[in-house]
């Protein structure tokens, strides 16, 4: 815990050194009728995971069975944000996922729509320094959470988050933090994110992004799906934490079209696959 806080503090201390002028912030609320629609491809593949104690160990599906295993997670993410007026914005996204565990003798694949996330955000301050509060829920769709790998926990989650942002024509910085109550046996999380962007002219932006979630307490005996627990490890079902950071670049071929590629490297976590995660997105702004 101390190591995680120290690492987070160092990262936060270094981020102001990055060029972070603002354009929009996490508390930014689009005007009524304005929208941001994004489709993105996500990819992650790893042979390592953080166990329940945070140690980096080989990914294993079955506790106590030592076999070379690769975990892969690919998704098409559809995201939409709409300005509703009166300082309100509605957000939602859904992932069409394909999770895969490959062992020497068997390839386990689960695919389909995963969870849908709905968020209502209320802005309280606009302008160069903006902040907002949001309520979020995450609903499981049609998958069977007992499949391994699962597409989600199978339970409804709810979150309350604080968002803040500062921006100018040269770039932006935004942050968010909150609490997410997870349904089922999983432990309540505190999600956080910090992002800085620098605008290089009118078409290019550089992005530095840090995000993750901590746990209010350890999962303990109720931590289903945990690494080394009874039965099978499944990151979608276990109480998981992660800290990941990475770069990105965005390109605006037109003022209303944004292409972006981002990567995140995990720094630490619990019950969570380790390694790089990549995102390639195209967004339409109105």
């Amino acid at each position: 815990m101390i190591r995680r806080v120290a690492r987070l503090a160092v990262t936060l201390a270094l981020l102001p050194l990055l060029p972070c002028p603002s354009l929009a912030g996490g508390g930014w609320i689009p005007e009524r009728g304005h929208s941001y629609l994004e489709a993105s491809l996500l990819h992650a593949a790893t042979e390592e995971t953080y166990d329940a104690d945070g140690t980096l160990v080989p990914y294993r599906r079955l506790a106590g069975v030592d076999r070379a295993t690769t975990y892969g997670d690919d998704a098409l993410a559809l995201f939409a944000e709409f300005g509703l007026g009166s300082g309100l914005v509605g957000e939602g996204d859904v992932l069409l996922r394909r999770a895969r565990v490959v062992e020497p003798a068997t390839r386990f694949t689960t695919w389909g729509p995963a969870d849908v996330r709905l968020l209502l955000k209320r802005g309280f301050r606009a302008g160069a320094l903006a902040w907002a509060l949001s309520l979020e829920t995450r609903l499981p769709l049609f998958y069977d959470e007992t499949d391994n790998p699962a597409l989600g926990s199978g339970f409804v989650d709810g979150a309350l988050q604080f968002h803040a942002g500062v921006g100018s024509a040269r770039g932006w910085a935004q942050a968010e933090m909150g609490l997410r109550a997870r349904g089922g046996p999983a432990v309540t999380e505190w999600p956080y994110a910090l992002q800085c962007g620098a605008n290089l002219g009118r078409r290019w932006s550089l992005i530095a992004d840090l995000r993750g979630n901590g746990l209010l307490r350890r999962g303990g005996d109720v931590d289903v799906g945990a690494v080394g627990g009874e039965g099978s490890f499944d990151p979608a079902r276990a109480s998981s934490s992660i800290l990941q950071v990475g770069p990105g670049v965005a390109y605006f071929p037109r003022s209303d079209l944004r292409l972006a590629i981002q990567g995140w490297r995990s720094l630490e976590g619990r019950n969570m696959p380790a390694g790089w995660k990549w995102k390639l997105g195209v967004a339409r702004l109105r």
Binding site: V65, D66, V102, T106, R107, T110, G112, L141, Y143
Partner: protein, 225 residues
């Protein structure tokens, strides 16, 4: 062999999902029975409470491929095996408590991968169901003999008797009882303190390890030189 499921009627609003599914597909070369490691060293024996116990082994290399094992059984009067569990078991021991007295069974074990590809089976020789402990030996007699005390007794003649357990105590001593194993009657119990009195009780033990009650009352004799 691919296990595939689609259209699960679960999730939000109970709607079916036509775009989702789950599969467990084999990876070459473990997509054929010959490549899946066969269980090793299958042994079957009775335990003291009448169950038949199967034990087999697997190397770490086997476990890197195999998700579990199926246990199958047939009676010797039939050639058809019946699988005893729907789900593959992950440990290498099986206790069969559903056996009939005197019936002879043949067991075999198959390994199975996560994709459902099974190995060739390993088969054990026939074993007889035996849920009854042997009868207590009777007509126990102890007499002084050269070199100790000679015990004689009568057993019930069960075909699976393995040995007899003798419990001997010194009535004038506070030492705990001593146990000796003898193969039959008569038996010379040696290594005793010459001239000391001993009391004897005897029980029969069968090949499954089941033991009868000890004979009573204890019979006594004085150890000879």
């Amino acid at each position: 062999m691919i296990r595939l499921r689609r259209g699960l009627p679960i999730g939000l609003l109970g709607l079916a999902c036509f775009g989702c599914g789950h599969s467990a597909s084999p990876v070459a070369p473990f997509d054929s029975t010959a490549a899946v490691p066969t269980p090793r060293n299958l042994q079957v024996h009775s335990d003291p409470i009448g169950r038949l116990v199967l034990r087999w082994s697997a190397t770490p290399q086997d476990r890197a491929v195999v998700d579990g094992w199926f246990v199958e059984r047939r009676v010797t009067t039939s050639s058809a095996f019946t699988r005893l569990e729907v789900e593959a078991r992950m440990d290498t021991t099986y206790f069969d408590d559903d056996i009939a007295e005197g019936v002879r069974y043949v067991y075999r074990v198959l390994a199975v991968t996560g994709a459902g590809v099974t190995s060739l089976p390993i088969e054990a020789g026939p074993v007889r169901g035996d849920r009854t402990a042997p009868a207590t030996p009777g007509a126990v007699v102890a007499v002084t003999a050269s070199g100790g005390i000679q015990l004689s007794f009568v057993d019930a003649g069960e075909p699976d008797l393995a040995f007899f357990e003798v419990r001997l105590t010194q009535p004038q001593s506070s030492d705990p009882p001593e146990f000796r194993q003898v193969s039959g009657s008569p038996a010379l119990i040696g290594g005793l303190a010459v001239g000391s009195p001993y009391a004897f009780e005897i029980a029969a033990v069968d090949s499954a390890g089941r033991i009868s009650a000890f004979s009573e009352p204890p019979v006594g004799a004085i150890a000879g030189p």
